[in-house]
């Protein structure tokens, strides 16, 4: 009996190794360990043996059986691994072929600049205010201390619209009328910026557009000084442009501020760039908005928003902002 079992184990090992796939291995498994198998049949015959013989043959049978099981298990693992890698291999992909350049959309570069500025001033404790683009003469000029027929109105090439009395309704020439609306809407303290679209009767060229954007700032509170204005613009300059930029104020003239100033920034290379206008809110403006200039004081500033967008990205033509060529839009 014994030599037979040894031979059987050897034959079993050969059959297991010969199984080419998991299906074949299952057949071999049934042949070697199933009801009709040599091992099962031999086990059934154990009952007819005497105790001693049964003990010896039984142990032998167990060894053979576990030997077969070990070999089957090993072969199964081997075949499973092979099958999985075959499966994985069949799923091989060239990922570069699948990269078709799926894109998100792009915010307009003016919006990006607008939101960047909003975030900066919100961080300084400011709110954001907006007003109508078609304005009345009072908010755009009158309340801002432009007397009727004053030559200062000539500084603005105003576009008028056919609404109400001739000359009464216009495309706002600056964001400053929003100052008036903010002061009319609620009392101080006011810490607000007013970004928006403005209009001038200008022929489009690389630095002019009949439509462009400005950002206005207004602070009205007790004890606000010209030094506060200078400090605020310096803080803005460093935060927006970088710590190696600095600012200066030069005397200027706007009817709605006094003292008035031009606001220049100094680039790291030492050159100066005129950025915008600013000044202390004129007492007449406060009075026009129902505020007592002896109790409240404030400053206002304004600058072109588009120009900041051009500067940051090195765009050399203002008209590009409004041309809406996709090859331009998708760069930002």
């Amino acid at each position: 009996m014994t030599p037979d079992l040894d031979q059987h184990l050897a034959d079993a090992a050969t059959a297991i190794e010969a199984a080419v796939d998991l299906d074949a291995l299952r057949t071999v498994d049934a042949d070697l360990l199933g009801k009709q198998s040599v091992v099962t049949t031999a086990r059934k015959a154990l009952g007819a043996m005497d105790v001693e013989e049964r003990k010896v043959v039984g142990r032998l049978l167990n060894e053979v059986r576990s030997g077969i099981q070990e070999r089957l298990e090993a072969r199964r693992t081997e075949l499973e691994t092979a099958a999985r890698s075959e499966q994985l291999e069949s799923e091989r992909l060239d990922l570069t072929e699948l990269d078709r350049g799926r894109r998100l959309g792009h915010r307009h570069v003016v919006t990006r600049t607008w939101e960047r500025l909003e975030d900066l001033f919100v961080g300084m404790g400011y709110t954001v205010s907006e007003g109508p683009e078609i304005e009345d003469e009072w908010h755009n000029f009158g309340a801002l201390n432009f007397p009727p027929d004053h030559p200062a109105r000539d500084m603005y090439d105003t576009l008028y619209v056919d609404h109400g009395e001739p000359g009464s309704t216009l495309l706002r020439t600056h964001t400053s009328p929003v100052q008036i609306r903010v002061m009319e809407a609620g009392g101080p303290p006011i810490y607000s910026i007013m970004p928006g679209r403005v209009f001038r009767s200008d022929t489009a060229d690389s630095t002019h557009m009949p439509v462009f954007h400005q950002l206005e700032g207004l602070v009205v509170d007790r004890g606000i000084t010209f030094g506060d204005l200078a400090g605020t613009l310096e803080a803005f300059t460093r935060a927006y442009f970088g710590g190696d930029f600095t600012s200066r104020l030069r005397p200027s003239y706007f009817p709605f501020t006094e003292p008035s100033a031009e606001f220049d920034i100094r680039r790291p290379d030492g050159t100066w760039l005129e950025l915008g206008g600013c000044g202390m809110v004129h007492p007449n403006v406060l009075t026009a908005c129902g505020l007592d200039p002896e109790e409240w004081s404030g400053f206002a500033f304004g600058f072109g928003l588009d120009r900041l967008a051009l500067m940051r990205h090195g765009i050399d033509d203002l008209r590009e902002l409004f041309r809406n060529d996709r090859r331009f839009l998708e760069q930002f």
Binding site: E118, T127, I134, A152, V219, I224, G227, E258, R326
Partner: protein
């Protein structure tokens, strides 16, 4: 305004380099736009005589000139100017010269012809930039003589200043010098000439009358005799040229010189040509005409001021331009000099109405100094005396109304609280006195100042005006910088925050933001299928920019067409911007709303609906309905109106193919346009949290056959209403047309998921709610359940 350093220096002993002085001027609010060294670096430029002029054989814009530069030889030069004639003396840059701008003059060929040097324009030799052509040298110069010698040029610095409208005082050299002297702390001295007076008194020779005292605040005349009209001295001509005024003759030049130096415009009349021996300042009569010096007959209105003669004939337009009838001529021997003060508003509006601006009107409309006339007269006589004229004794000086100059109380505390400075009373007084304001302590030992503003500062009339002067002369850069702490909580409004969500959603959907100009051309609204009656610009520069958009559609369609013309198709874009409409009722301003528009080129209405539903998800505005129905300019069978909580917020679908054709867009265009202000003003967001059920859910599918006019959304709403709280999900998963479904009908298959928060649903419960759903749909809609 331009000033020469040498001229400034006649008023004060200035120190510092030109760069330092330039910075000081900018710091005073007289922004230096440009600064150029003139009168130097002209070695190699000599006087040459034009011998011959002939066309260039191969160029229209260049001519060939032969010049003699002193050696008697004819040298050929190519020249782009045509204002010379044979015999003229001109400045000539010889070979090897380095021009003031760094250009090297070498022998070179221009279109096949040799050029042996360069003839110079006034700008090229630093004599001002306002003249075209080659400088023609007047007077007897020696050919070959250095041009600096011939023109008596000396090195100088020319500053181009930007003078703000509130600074009439800085429209003259003396005014600029006054500010600069204050900044430098050096004494400022005005000239005080006293020319000898000879001959008959002016008072008996010319009378002056002011008929409109609001128009004319002062009218002073004097008479000069012994006039010989001829060229001005070289030094004066050079200065006028440098400041941008063309020298004309000694009389006109002296008048201009005094205006540039002291800010007082003047006008000179040929005494013999003034009829009736009188000058009268009055308003013009309606349609009165006057021939001005530029030989144009001007028709005036009753708002314009004129100077009339003794016969009441208008002989000049007040403050703007004199008339030709009394113009100085070669035969003039005596002149009447007028130095007047005109009402700024009158001059400004007349100059605008007549389209006529002069150096004089520019000064009057800003507000001239009514008190400088006497000095200016004496200065004028002094200058003209150089060419032999004499000043007659007597001054005819008539006054009208000029701005009153009162005393302004200036509080030291106010100065410091506005500026954030710590200046004491005397320091403030010192700053003000340095620019000839008179500042005295208010009362004995008072902390404040009483300030009298000089007559040349009409802009300064209130305390805050004086505060600005203190800041300006003290120096803005010396005011300590402080950062105020905001007294409020900053942040975006809910609308502004939502608008960012909208943009983020659009960008996330792959759409690019566009920003077309909001101007449209006439007819654009109509082409877009919209009401053509838009808000109109009354004074557009071009007709293409004369209509304000009432919808974002025309601008975006133009954008699509523009990109398509560059072979960029399939654009997916969005815009957030204002649209403007005539208001329904009388209101102060036109109706203005912020809209969102989305255009999907090459995609259909379905894609546009998807954009909207994604947006609704982003904003958590799920209570919306799409209701079939079109709107002007949209595809009549592929458009739905969007209602949120029953309020119409916009439309979605496709642009009408006819509109697309009119805008030259060759693709189908999915379109969404929403009134953002309305949408974001409606309740959205903030839905209460609903805990996730841990019990199993049951799915059922229901397919209904409906006709084409029954909206899938209506079936869906009906199901939602019938299913009640147990329904957690509803989706339309299949739409089927064709056999066995009858023609004109379709099958809509929905999947419904039911789930309870507190138990596992029984089969009986699911069956019951299923039946309720079927009954509801079949009962209220023309729909039948498919088996």
């Amino acid at each position: 305004m331009k000033v020469l350093l040498s001229w400034l220096s006649e008023f004060a002993p200035f120190v510092g380099t030109p760069d330092e002085i330039g910075d000081q001027l900018s710091g005073l609010g007289l922004a230096v736009e440009n600064m150029v060294a003139i009168g130097g670096g002209l070695d190699g430029i000599v006087v040459a005589r034009v011998l011959d002029l002939r066309p260039h054989p191969d160029a229209d814009r260049i001519q060939l000139v032969n010049v003699d530069a002193g050696d008697g030889e004819a040298l050929q030069v190519c020249c782009g100017a045509f204002n010379m004639t044979v015999g003229d003396l001109v400045p000539f840059a010889t070979l090897g010269t380095t021009m003031p701008n760094g250009m090297q003059i070498g022998r070179r060929k221009m279109r096949g012809e040799w050029s042996n040097g360069m003839l110079c324009s006034p700008e090229e030799i630093g004599l001002g930039v306002d003249q075209d052509g080659i400088l023609i040298l007047e007077g007897g110069h020696t050919v070959g003589q250095p041009v600096t010698e011939a023109l008596e040029l000396s090195p100088d610095v020319l500053f181009y200043l930007e003078v703000n409208p509130n600074r009439p005082d800085a429209m003259c050299v003396a005014g600029v010098a006054r500010d600069l002297a204050a900044r430098q702390g050096v004494p400022f001295t005005r000239p005080d000439p006293s020319p000898q007076e000879v001959g008959a008194d002016a008072a008996g020779r010319v009378a002056v009358e002011i008929l409109d005292k609001d128009l004319c605040g002062r009218f002073m005349v004097r008479i000069l005799d012994g006039i010989t009209v001829g060229p001005s001295p070289k030094w004066m001509a050079n200065r006028l040229t440098a400041l941008g005024m063309r020298p004309i003759n000694n009389v006109v030049d002296a008048s201009n010189y005094v205006m540039l130096e002291l800010g007082q415009p003047s006008h000179t009349y040929d005494l013999d040509a003034v009829q009736g021996g009188a000058l009268r300042a009055r308003r013009a009569t309606e349609a009165e005409t006057v021939a001005t010096l530029d030989e144009v007959v001007r028709t005036l209105s009753t708002k314009d001021g004129v100077i009339a003669d003794g016969h009441d004939t208008a002989i000049g337009i007040a403050g703007i331009m004199g008339g030709s009838s009394t113009e100085i001529s070669a035969s003039t021997t005596s002149v009447v000099v007028e130095m007047a003060w005109w009402d700024p508003m009158s001059i400004a509006s007349s100059a605008r109405r007549l389209g006529l601006r002069s150096e004089a009107s520019a000064r009057f409309e800003r507000g001239a100094d009514p008190e400088v006339a006497d000095l200016a007269m004496r200065r004028f006589a002094e200058l003209l005396a150089e060419t032999g004229a004499t000043l007659a004794p007597g001054v005819v000086d008539v006054r009208g109304v000029t701005p009153a100059s009162g005393t302004i109380r200036v509080r030291t505390s106010r100065v410091n609280s506005m500026l954030g400075t710590d200046l004491d009373r005397d320091a403030i007084a010192g700053l003000l006195n340095s620019i000839e304001f008179t500042a005295e302590p208010a009362g004995e030992g008072g902390a404040d100042l009483d300030v009298i503003v000089p007559s040349f500062r009409p802009d300064s009339s209130t305390e805050i005006d004086v505060v600005e002067e203190v800041a300006r002369i003290h120096g803005y850069h010396r005011i300590p910088r402080t950062l105020p702490r905001s007294a409020i909580t900053g942040g975006l409004t809910p609308y502004q925050a939502d608008r960012r969500v909208v943009r983020t959603a659009m960008v996330g959907l792959g759409l690019d933001e566009v920003m077309p100009v909001p101007f449209l051309a006439p007819g654009d609204l109509e082409r877009a299928g919209l009401d053509p009656d838009g808000v109109t610009v009354t004074n557009p520069l071009v007709a293409e920019e004369s209509v304000m958009r009432a919808s974002l559609r025309p601008g975006i369609l133009k954008t699509l067409a523009y990109n398509a013309s560059h072979r960029i198709h399939g654009l997916g874009v969005f815009e957030v911007g204002h649209v403007y409409r005539r208001p329904a009722e009388t209101q102060t301003l036109p109706e203005e709303r912020e809209h969102l528009a989305v255009a999907l080129a090459g995609r259909d209405a379905g894609a546009a609906v998807e954009v909207f539903s994604a947006l609704a998800d982003a904003l958590d505005a799920r209570d919306y309905r799409l209701v079939a129905g079109t709107t002007p300019g949209m595809h009549p069978t592929r458009t739905a109106r969007i209602e949120v909580g029953g309020v119409v917020v916009g439309h979605v679908g496709e642009v009408d193919p006819g509109v697309l054709e009119a805008f030259g867009v060759g693709e189908r265009v999915g379109w969404l346009e929403l009134d953002l202000e309305t949408l974001l003003g409606l309740p959205h967001g903030g839905r209460p949290y609903r805990s996730v059920s841990r019990y199993p859910s049951s799915d059922i599918d229901l397919a209904f056959e409906v006709d084409e006019t029954t909206a899938a959304a209506d079936v869906g709403s009906c199901l939602t209403a019938a299913a009640g709280d147990l329904l957690v999900d509803l989706a339309l998963f299949d739409v089927f047309r064709g056999a066995p479904v009858a023609d004109g009908r379709r099958s809509l298959a929905f999947t419904l998921r039911f789930q309870a928060a507190d138990r596992t649903l029984t089969d009986a419960e699911v069956a019951e709610v299923r039946q309720r759903c079927i009954d509801a749909v079949q009962g209220s809609l023309p729909a039948t359940l498919r088996g």
